[in-house]
């Protein structure tokens, strides 16, 4: 076969001669791609937009409460229902972003696509987690901060310290939730192999984790056992921080509960992907 025979294709192709970026930031590309793929789902888009609905409702409530002195005492209670609803939206976001994140890569052999390119194992894991984390933070931290700003502007008694406390609390709550939900869903995905199965298991796990903690706490009378379920732990942490009256011990245990789940998820993912760890 002569070389001329081979010229049956478009001859416009020339090898890329431009510069290539340093391999250090590949996790951002992986995370962006995960989010881009999730964004293709119309349900994901709807949920993303709907997740800002409660913010509007609660912002109106904050303004109304500030206008009427008699409602001022109810302000502390605004955070709890707000956090509960946003957690639900976070669960849905995680469902769309994380359910196939690792499992589908394992099923289709896509790990070779990543690891035959300048992507390290840590960058891969970080990128996968970051996509889920961004989804969680997008529906918890972002509307939470906006609501905190509303409340600070609307409530005459709220000072800068109050605002900073809300901000810090929201950061801790959202960060722990992102950490925990991210690694748990990646573990579920890695174990299930198929996105659909992983999604179902994830939703069940989210609701069961409410019941486990609550059940154990009620059965034993030890309030801190609410930390055993990650969703219950997050709700109780929100109650301790933003509901007022929580002790440092409670904050510690509910944070530890979520960190434990995150660690468990990470260990499961590492075990499932162990043959790629040296890459």
């Amino acid at each position: 076969m002569s070389h001329d025979d081979a010229r049956i294709y478009d001859q416009a192709y020339r090898p890329f001669a431009g510069g290539l970026a340093s391999p250090r930031s590949r996790f951002l590309i992986i995370a962006a791609n995960e989010l881009r793929q999730a964004w293709k789902s119309k349900w994901f888009k709807r949920i993303a937009w709907f997740s800002f609905g409660p913010l509007i409702v609660f912002a109106v409530l904050v303004v109304v409460a500030a206008r009427f002195d008699g409602l001022g005492g109810q302000m502390e209670d605004i955070w709890m229902p707000f956090w509960g609803i946003q957690m639900f939206f976070a669960m849905l976001m995680v469902f769309f972003i994380g359910r196939g994140a690792v499992g589908e890569d394992l099923r289709t052999g896509a790990l070779i696509v990543y690891f035959s390119r300048p992507v390290s194992f840590m960058q891969y894991l970080t990128g996968k987690w970051l996509a889920v984390g961004v989804g969680v933070l997008g529906v918890t931290l972002v509307p939470g901060v906006v609501l905190a700003i509303f409340r600070w502007l609307a409530e005459p008694d709220a000072g800068v310290l109050d605002f900073l406390f809300w901000l810090g609390s929201l950061l801790l709550l959202s960060g722990l939730l992102a950490l925990c939900m991210g690694w748990v869903v990646l573990a579920v995905s890695a174990l299930s192999g198929r996105a659909r199965a992983a999604g179902i298991v994830w939703v069940i796990l989210f609701f069961i984790s409410f019941g486990i903690g609550e059940g154990l706490a009620e059965a034993t009378g030890i309030y801190e056992l609410n930390a055993v379920g990650f969703s219950q732990a997050s709700e109780q942490l929100a109650r301790s921080l933003l509901g007022g009256g929580g002790t440092l011990g409670e904050v510690f245990w509910f944070s530890l509960g979520q960190l434990g789940w995150a660690l468990l998820g990470l260990v499961v993912v590492l075990i499932k992907l162990r043959r790629w760890m040296r890459v």
Binding site: A6, R7, L20, A21, P23, I29, V113
Partner: protein
């Protein structure tokens, strides 16, 4: 030298796969030839830094995969043997994502993905989901993904696996085009001799984890040949008789006018020239008989081959 290996060992747990592999590959298209289980894929994975460091020294595009695996993978494009894809993505998205993973800016990656997909013949199918691609289309897509960032070196692991004859020919044409028209260095692993014969200038022959030969394809075919073609101006029969009396095994080939002279151990072409001089005959042609790559490969693998 684009790839250099010295005394490379590789093993999966206690099972050794490569034994002191040493070879060097110059620029161009090189075939990595060996039967199934010879260690070709393991060697490619080692070159990409996907397997842990073992005794030996490897350089790929002047970089050590053991210490700079990410840099090596940035300068190389890899087309794996297995069917790999990211579900839910179309051809263009997947190809552009491969470019981004290799370090291209998104705009460059998308632009180049269009170009390379047309090049591999997937221009019309680039917006279709990869899940619905045929085997041949996926093979082309893998090639496009390996090419999109303009690698110095292209590592192709059994690129014609699963293709029908027409698809195979087209894939070989593409590889030939990439290596000889686009001047990208190619290491092409295959157990199909015809594929290597059609596209490669150099060969590395691997069997049971050991290199049997490394060098140009012509040298391989000629080295494996211990037969010379001899043509004299006149007196063909006289020359044949002279060679036989000098201890050569001669086979006359009807029609071509050549004498086929088999060299035994210790014999070389000098004795043929000497015989012709003694008989006062004029040699018009004296060259090693070219054996097919298949014959050469069979000899090498059967233990008759030459060492590198």
């Amino acid at each position: 030298m684009i790839i250099s290996c010295q005394n490379l060992d590789q093993a999966y747990k206690s099972h050794r796969v490569l034994f002191g592999v040493s070879f060097g590959i110059e620029s161009g298209c090189t075939g990595l030839l060996g039967p199934n289980g010879a260690g070709k894929s393991t060697l490619i994975k080692t070159l990409l830094g996907q397997l842990p460091l073992r005794p030996g020294r490897v350089q790929v595009a002047d970089r050590d995969p053991a210490t700079e695996p990410l840099r090596v993978r940035q300068s190389a494009g890899y087309m794996p043997e297995s069917d790999v894809y990211l579900p839910g993505m179309n051809g263009l998205e997947l190809c552009a994502f491969c470019g981004q993973l290799s370090g291209m800016r998104r705009a460059d990656a998308v632009s180049k993905a269009h170009e390379v997909l047309y090049f591999v013949g997937l221009g019309e199918a680039r917006y279709r989901e990869v899940d619905g691609y045929s085997t041949g289309m996926r093979q082309r897509l893998k090639l496009a993904g390996a090419l999109v960032h303009g690698p110095e070196l292209l590592l192709l692991d059994e690129p014609t696996t699963g293709l029908d004859p027409a698809g195979r020919d087209e894939m070989l044409q593409l590889i030939d085009d990439v290596a000889h028209q686009r001047e990208i260095n190619v290491l092409f692993s295959s157990h199909i001799l015809r594929d290597i014969e059609q596209t490669c200038d150099h060969v590395v022959v691997l069997n049971e984890g050991r290199v049997l030969f490394s060098g140009s394809r012509d040298d391989f075919q000629h080295q494996e040949s211990r037969v010379l073609h001899v043509k004299v101006k006149e007196g063909r029969e006289q020359m044949a008789a002279g060679l036989v009396s000098s201890g050569f095994e001669v086979v006359s080939r009807e029609g071509t006018g050549h004498l086929e002279v088999a060299l035994s151990e210790g014999q070389n072409a000098d004795a043929i020239w000497k015989t012709a001089r003694e008989l006062n005959l004029q040699i018009r042609h004296l060259a090693p008989a070219t054996v097919s790559l298949e014959q050469a490969f069979e000899k090498a693998v059967d233990g008759e081959g030459t060492s590198p």
